[in-house]
Symmetry: D2
């Protein structure tokens, strides 16, 4: 149920004509109860001038996917709007690498939601990036 | 001199076939001595599902532009690689808004560089986002 | 007027019997319209095991002083409660150094306030730390 | 072994005459392989003007304890110096609450270490704060 909802949200983002189109290679694997797992193969279109996953794309992926995780936290939970996004870059991912994105709702209160996310390389398990995301969720 | 260098770096990023292509509407206004100013008109392709500037694109713009500011800090300063990027979202920018991006080198040491950046709406002067960016610059 | 208010708030924090007593050597120099400047001489009681200003004390100073800056933003502005505090440590300050703390209100909206702060060494002008502070200010 | 090492480091910090004395009520419960767990009962001396755990003390606790976790990561791992510390405040802790602090080494490379920490209230399991800490560990 949540998985279908998140896949619909992602599809909508990709097809809307906005910046979400850069997420078209993302595959949502599981979603529910405030958590989400997704995967993507790094391609040339995702890279920076060094040929590795662009930090700005990592930020975009985390911005959207942690918001989707939040939506599955409880029925009718809204997506809110971002207050703060912070990403640490621990290792690089290169073309051909399969990355796994996990997102988790740490707290979803009446006005604020605190989310965390991580990108790892699937084969080696190396952590590519860790992130925190704060959203304003007031109705 | 620095202005030309940064414009060349941006052009290269846009044309390389990587994620930098999303920066193709950015116009570098000035650059030098660790600082940079640029502008961009928000278009539909830059927006999230609410029709405002996507936080992931803001992150991408700041990631690249603060790195260009760093390059102008001193001759032969390298661009380094990102350790940490943090963005606060204060206000939204909608389609048609002209945004101004400023970036500044707070410190560029032997192994670490500390940068800050800001996005404002040109007409109203409203702050859209503030950011800090830490890079590893070891040769 | 604002200067007197902030000095009273600081005095109250120091004398309350809580953790604010660690701020007893802070001298507020100016305050008003969302901004504040203060000074402190680094003494042994302020240091970590390396004999330099403890990062936790820097965090404490910034937490309180940026909150005082917020209070001066407009009449009856409340101090709110912290959502997020982030500090970058650029250089160290040693015993005997005179540090200058500046804090600034970037935005104070209906429910959220965004603050920034900086610690510099007075004589050299070297940046010791930069910080951002987000507060929840809902009445 | 690691537990004894960390307890010695903490004792040293408390008795050194510096700011570490504010950590004198911390009890290290376990430590090893880059991880650490500690506990503390919140007392009046730890509070802010609202009578809850002071955000600056939370920062100080996390600064030191995540550094101790790092030291246990591998033999002869040095403590390094802080580059960046970020804390999100999710809930408050009041006098009498027992807090549990956990810290974890996410990556310890040749020059940089990435740590994470969390403070929870022991009885309810409520998350009080989450934090990330980046250190420079070059020999």
């Amino acid at each position: 149920m949540s998985l279908q909802l998140v896949r619909t949200l992602l599809k909508h983002s990709v097809e809307l004509g906005g910046f979400g189109k850069v997420l078209d290679k993302i595959n949502i694997v599981s979603a529910g109860e405030g958590q989400l797992t997704a995967e993507m193969k790094v391609e040339e279109e995702h890279t920076n001038y060094m040929g590795t996953l662009h930090g700005g794309l990592s930020a975009t992926i985390i911005d959207n996917l942690s918001s989707y995780a939040l939506v599955t936290y409880k029925p009718n939970q809204n997506r809110g709007s971002s207050i703060d996004l912070k990403i640490s870059y621990l290792n690089s991912a290169k073309v051909g690498d399969e990355i796994v994105i996990t997102a988790n709702t740490v707290k979803a209160g009446k006005t604020l939601a605190f989310l965390e996310a991580k990108i790892t390389e699937k084969t080696s398990g190396k952590v590519i990036a860790t992130a925190t995301h704060i959203k304003f969720v007031k109705d």
